[in-house]
């Protein structure tokens, strides 16, 4: 089933690769992935929708939390959350259906972002299923091109973020907790 994972991670080269690698090495298909920096430019927020066997969902979250660059991984699949996606549709249709297309777009809360004699470019945001319907409707009026952003999600309850404090070292030397036991 589809799992929605929200990740807070360090905005560093390779961080994305670690997350996607974690999923691909287990043979999971990523349905969508969005990532952008947060208010703190050193951090990124990532939303992943991935097809994971239900029994493995918790393990995926634990493995993601193990990644050094990941500050927090949360499963939003069954927790209260808002999921939104943006779609951009370019539609070419005959002159006589222009008004109808506009009305249809309005029903979905769409906004025309470009208009030409050939047709429109329309943006719509909404939950992914609603966007599916919108795309189906547009297809019935003409020739379309579609780009979707992938899902973005935010939890409705805030989850406490526990960050690890810096570890002091005496110039590197004490940074190594060596097990005391050597025979």
């Amino acid at each position: 089933m589809l799992q929605i994972i929200s990740l807070l991670l360090e905005n560093k080269p390779g961080a994305l690769m670690r997350v996607t690698g974690l999923l691909t090495q287990r043979g999971y298909n990523i349905e969508s992935l969005t990532v952008a920096r947060t208010l703190d430019p050193e951090l990124s927020r990532m939303t992943i929708v991935v097809d994971v066997d239900a029994s493995q969902r918790q393990q995926v979250i634990k493995q993601a939390n193990k990644l050094i660059n990941v500050l927090q991984a949360t499963d939003l699949t069954e927790t209260p959350a808002v999921v939104r996606e943006l779609v951009l549709v370019r539609i070419k249709m005959p002159q006589e259906t222009r008004t109808t297309v506009l009305k249809e777009a309005e029903i979905f809360g769409g906004r025309v972002v470009d208009s030409s004699t050939e047709g429109f470019a329309i943006e719509v945001t909404g939950d992914p299923e609603k966007l599916d319907e919108f795309v189906d409707v547009m297809r019935s009026y003409g020739e379309i091109d579609v780009t979707r952003s992938g899902a973005l999600a935010i939890a409705l309850d805030s989850k406490k973020l526990r960050l690890q404090p810096p570890v002091l070292t005496s110039a590197g030397q004490a940074s190594r907790p060596v097990p005391s036991e050597t025979a």
Binding site: G14, Q63, V167
Partner: protein, 577 residues
């Protein structure tokens, strides 16, 4: 205070501050600046004959000391050759740091000479990795690498450094703090859960301690010993946990699993409580999961939260350092003595009686023959000479299993083997690392004729450094474990498993300048091994053993752990499971 120095010097400075005294490596084009500063530095560099063996040697060093092992390789093929050793360390949770050179930053992505995407390739081979493209990032990356490798669940960390960083000049600021906000290390263990665990242990009629590599990694064998003695608990040590509780300890049963003892596996199948300490319920231990320890509640202690519930859902999960958790458990059980309970005492006594009974019914057999050397005979002779005190590194296969069954280990960090990945060619380079780390110890490198032929080049390293390693080849002329499976499960169609043309061991050793010998008579065995041990330098002893011996007991793959094949099919019945 900061000093102007090259990146290569800075790297060396960082390594020295981390207490590194020995690096196993192989130089190349982009690591030249590093090898130049290494030339007159006190850190010892050991030139191996293949990068894979540098990683194995670093592991050998780490496994016998608990300190971080260090290996080094150049870009491209040097780095890709390290990968097997890195994955091996990852699966066995061994702390090593690998330093690799990378082509100059400007050339990255241009298919430059000896360029490989080391950072990408080793993502899944390591606990964490770094690509250093700016000199100012170097110090932090190296110190963070050591910290990550050694803390929490230990593992391999790779630092890939571009040539321009090694060549650049900069000011070195000693790193005084490591800031990894997302790196969570759980050490303490939940007090409430520990209390619940203590209660379950006290109430259990048929408890079993399942102790693994985590006990060794945490340095918790003293706490383990106190724990099993205080509660008089029967204990099994996994392949990775051998030596965690001394083999001679009265509470020790033996190793469980696919080639574990009858008693250990029966104990799993009949216990009512498993106290799992630093283990991961590996498939080679559990057999068919649905049939594994069906009556048991589980207390699972591990420092890695992802291990809890990964394979088996525990009744009491405890995320923490097993050393600290056991110390707390010991404190709890010493403070709170349960009221005497006759029924429970009787049940415990019956449980112990049953376990001893299983041990007597089907002990691990040391079979001998008058005409041929049996592999088990070889192991028991090594065991006699070691007396539980020598370091034994093993390769992978039949000899590894017989060694694990029959050689005793009196303390942790003596038994060195590739458990999780099962990398052939591990035994000899691991012994090299172990002998460098413990020059005071007798080191047996116990290898099969297959694995040995993967690491023959390292005889050069052994010879160059005069390492007094006793290389014992259990030579059955076959890839024995694969042959065993072909015999048992593929109608004895022996496909690509016969190793003929094994070199003359005496001549081979002589070519490298040390002593060697081949024996095949059982009456020669004891004296030949003694001679090898007496020899002040390296020794290569090729022991030709009977070729078609199978390792028993055996739980066929996918079988339940209590459905063991205890001996050769009689007469020709092959287990159907």
């Amino acid at each position: 205070m900061s000093t102007l120095m090259s990146g290569a010097r800075m790297l060396l400075e960082c390594l020295a501050r981390e207490g590194v005294d020995c690096i196993f490596g192989y130089p190349g084009g982009v690591t030249l600046p590093f090898y130049d500063v290494l030339y007159d530095h006190h850190i010892r560099h050991v030139l191996v004959r293949h990068e894979e063996n540098a990683a194995f040697a670093a592991q050998g060093y780490a496994r016998v000391t608990g300190k971080v092992g260090v290996c080094c390789a150049t870009s491209g093929p040097g780095a890709t050759n390290l990968t097997t050793g890195l994955v091996d360390a990852l699966l066995d949770s061994i702390p090593i740091v690998a330093i690799t050179g990378q082509v100059p930053t400007k050339l990255i992505g241009s298919d430059a000479f000896q360029e490989a995407d080391t950072f990408g390739i080793t993502r899944s081979c390591t606990k964490h990795n770094f690509l250093v493209k700016r000199l100012e990032d170097l110090g932090a990356a190296v110190h963070e690498a050591f910290y990550i490798a050694a803390s929490g669940r230990p593992g391999p960390v790779l630092v890939d450094i571009t040539k321009d960083v090694l060549q650049g000049q900069g000011h070195y600021q000693p790193v005084t703090s490591i800031h990894l906000p997302g790196y969570k290390v759980f050490t303490e263990g939940h007090t409430g859960q520990i209390r619940r665990a203590a209660q379950l242990i006290q109430e259990s009629e048929r408890p079993l301690v399942y102790s693994g590599g985590g006990i060794i990694a945490a340095g918790a064998s003293a706490e383990l010993r106190e724990f099993v003695e205080r509660n008089d608990l029967p204990t099994v040590n996994t392949l990775m946990g051998l030596g965690g509780l001394p083999s001679e300890h009265p509470n020790f049963i033996s190793m469980p699993g696919m080639h574990g003892s009858y008693a250990a596996n029966m104990a799993f199948s009949n216990c009512d409580l498993i106290v799992a300490l630093g283990v991961r319920f590996d498939d080679r231990v559990t057999g068919r999961l649905a049939a594994f320890a069906p009556h048991a509640k589980v207390i699972h202690v591990d420092i890695d939260p992802a291990e809890i519930g990964k394979i088996r859902n525990p009744d009491v999960p405890i995320v923490g350092d097993v050393k600290r958790v056991l110390a707390k458990l010991n404190k709890l059980t010493s403070e709170e003595k349960p009221a005497p309970n006759e029924k429970l005492t009787a049940a415990r006594r019956a449980w112990w009686h049953q376990i001893r009974q299983w041990k007597l019914e089907h002990p691990l057999q040391v079979s001998t023959s008058d005409t041929e050397i049996k592999p088990q005979h070889l192991m028991s002779e090594i065991d006699r000479l070691s007396g539980g005190r020598a370091i034994v590194t093993s390769d992978v296969g039949q000899h590894q299993m017989w060694a694990a069954q029959l050689i005793r280990f009196g303390e942790p960090r003596l038994w060195v083997n590739s458990g999780g990945l099962g990398s052939m060619g591990f035994g000899l380079p691991a012994a090299i690392g172990a002998q460098f780390a413990r020059p005071d110890k007798l080191v047996f490198s116990l290898v099969g004729d297959g694995g040995f032929q993967m690491s023959i080049p390292e005889l050069g390293t052994v010879a160059s450094n005069g390492l007094p390693i006793k290389i014992i080849i259990m030579n059955n002329g076959y890839l024995g474990m694969v042959r065993q499976w072909q015999t048992l499960f593929y109608n004895n169609r022996l496909s690509a498993v016969e190793l003929d043309n094994f070199p003359d061991a005496e001549k081979l050793a002589a070519a490298y300048g040390f002593k060697g010998k081949t024996i095949d008579k059982p009456w020669e065995l004891a004296s030949a091994l003694e001679e090898a041990v007496r020899e002040p330098g390296p020794y290569l002893l090729n022991v030709k053993v009977t070729p078609f011996e199978n390792v028993y007991p055996m739980v066929p793959a996918g079988g339940a752990i209590n459905e063991m094949v205890l001996g050769p099919p009689q007469p020709a019945a092959v287990p159907a499971k």
